[in-house]
């Protein structure tokens, strides 16, 4: 146990490329690895993914473990947990980081329990305790009303999932060099108990929320699906995207993929225009990284006007 070494990032692949969250994890992981004087590695898992090892190196990995197997083409709990269990047993990392994504949410806890260790989910900050050299994992709790710092003292690896945009990626540098190691997935098809019958995309057209520099977000006070068309027009004019709080999604006014918040998308645009939403902590969890927030609300007491974290300017106008 004591000889577990290194920080390992579990990479994710979106449309044949390393996901943005993976570059962010490599950026954050690099700092932890340097603080410990240990190596930073990335696991690139999937089917036909060996070429992506170079990309992981360019974003900061010292070493890349490629686990390439047809059974890993799609994320499925059983195959990914089994493959990661094998990788971790072979490499014995000290710390394992994943994104708080559909994959990381599912994989991290089950893997941690399989390995009889623990994970802290949806971390916003990670640091190495200077004395114990253990990973301090800070995450929001109570829907963002408070923060908690956790430590995993007795077992290894220490596993954390990290919220999107919580860490800064390093500049991509294709001249960096790193070692690439292939690990056999060793997954038995009969041990994979779920099958994916269909994948249904509900992507909204236009700029992706996660990438948008301007977001117009509509809340319950919008009142129905129709006014969202106005928000779309405004978004088009400003070159941005439209998001929503949970009620408009739950009410079927807009697709669920537009939800911003703790259990929706995490966004950090330059300008976030919050229209007729109260600013519940669970919603702010998804947008408090915005640089500027404009809130349009008829209620001057709305929480969105109180809980300003990072944003610089916040405006109010009475419609």
């Amino acid at each position: 146990m004591a000889d577990n070494k290194g920080v390992m990032i579990v990479g994710e692949i979106v449309e044949g490329k390393l996901a943005a969250i993976t570059a962010e994890l490599l950026g954050g992981g690099r700092k932890l690895a340097d603080a410990l004087g240990e190596e930073l590695s990335a696991v690139v898992m999937g089917s036909g993914v060996a070429d992506l090892a170079k990309e992981a190196v360019a974003f900061g990995a010292d070493k890349v473990y490629v686990v390439d197997d047809a059974l890993l083409a799609d994320y499925r709990t059983d195959s990914y947990v089994a493959a990661m269990e094998k990788v971790i047993k072979e490499v014995a990392p000290n710390i394992v980081l994943m994104g708080q994504t559909a994959t990381g949410r599912d994989l991290a806890p089950r893997l941690a329990f399989r390995l009889d260790t623990a994970t802290a989910m949806d971390c916003l900050e990670l640091a190495i305790d200077p004395n114990s050299k253990l990973l301090l994992m800070t995450r929001s709790v109570y829907g963002g009303n408070a923060m908690g710092t956790y430590v995993c003292e007795g077992t290894k690896p220490q596993i954390a999932t990290v919220r999107a945009k919580a860490m800064d990626p390093m500049e991509r540098d294709d001249s960096r060099s790193g070692e690439v190691v292939t690990i056999d997935a060793g997954v038995d098809a009969s041990a994979v108990r779920t099958s994916i019958a269909e994948k249904v995309k509900e992507e909204v057209e236009g700029i992706k929320l996660e990438d948008a520099e301007v977001i117009i977000c509509g809340g319950r006070g919008i009142g129905g699906p129709e006014p969202f068309k106005d928000l779309e027009e405004l978004a088009k004019a400003l070159g941005g995207a439209v998001g929503a709080t949970r009620p408009p999604c739950d009410n079927g006014w807009v697709p669920s993929a537009m939800q911003v918040g703790l259990t929706g998308k995490i966004v950090s645009p330059t300008l976030y225009i919050a229209v007729a939403l109260s600013g519940a902590s669970q919603h702010l969890a998804g947008c408090s990284g915005s640089k500027n927030i404009v809130a349009i609300n008829k209620d001057p007491e709305a929480n969105i006007f109180n809980i300003v974290l990072k944003p610089d300017s916040l405006c109010f106008f009475n419609p």
Partner: protein, 267 residues
Amino acid sequence: MPNMIVCVKQIPDPEAPAGSFRVDEAANAVVPAASVSQVVSPFDEQAVEAALRLKDEHGGTITAVSLGKDFVMDVIKKPLAMGSDELVLLQDPAFEGGDSRSTAYALAMAIKKIGDFDIVFCGRQAADWDAGQVGSGIAEFLGVPSVTVAKKVEWLDGKVKVERVVSDGYEVIEVSPPLVITVSNELGEPRYPKLKGIMAASKKQVPTWAAADIAADASQAGAAGARIKLLKVFQPVKEGKCEIIEGDSPEEAAAALALKLREVKLV
């Protein structure tokens, strides 16, 4: 006919106005204001709803299980009032001070005692600590498959079809029972209990099981079985400027806002 178990947790209302939650740094705890009522964690109500929808269509049984202390009976009986058949409470000092792993262990042991099941439903995350781990933990302890963040569940004669929410849509997953499913709000509104259900629930005797009743290993439950420790809880300092833009009419205020946004070069 599916035999179903639903894991439900009693928590302070997560939608209570922000500012109702204070941190007690000495006790390492989040303390809700006295005005904050206890509720069944919202995703767990949706888990109950998912089970009820299967029961409406196919019959079967639903047993709700909750681990905790200071249960408010009117609150924790809500799954019964909604239409579940049984409720089992787990309460024992031995369960306290646990983490997601030890909670999952105790729930898994209770589920073993309840008996054969087809589906265990959980919420995607308990809306107090927002961990999102216990469902996967129960599945791991029971050695069954898990499907997380579901928005629709169908029972097809010996097969289960689950729509699992992913960032750009959903996946349709097929799996054979027994399994664990965690449910998300995309499933839709949970039903309101009917008066008849509330009356029946209030009369119903509910068993409380301690660690010994579920043959829980003392080294696995509660604090002893925890693998992670909460070092400190705190509330981040709020900073940032808030400027209110006013106007005599919406049009005026809008014009002033537009001007301001231009001035600071945001548009």
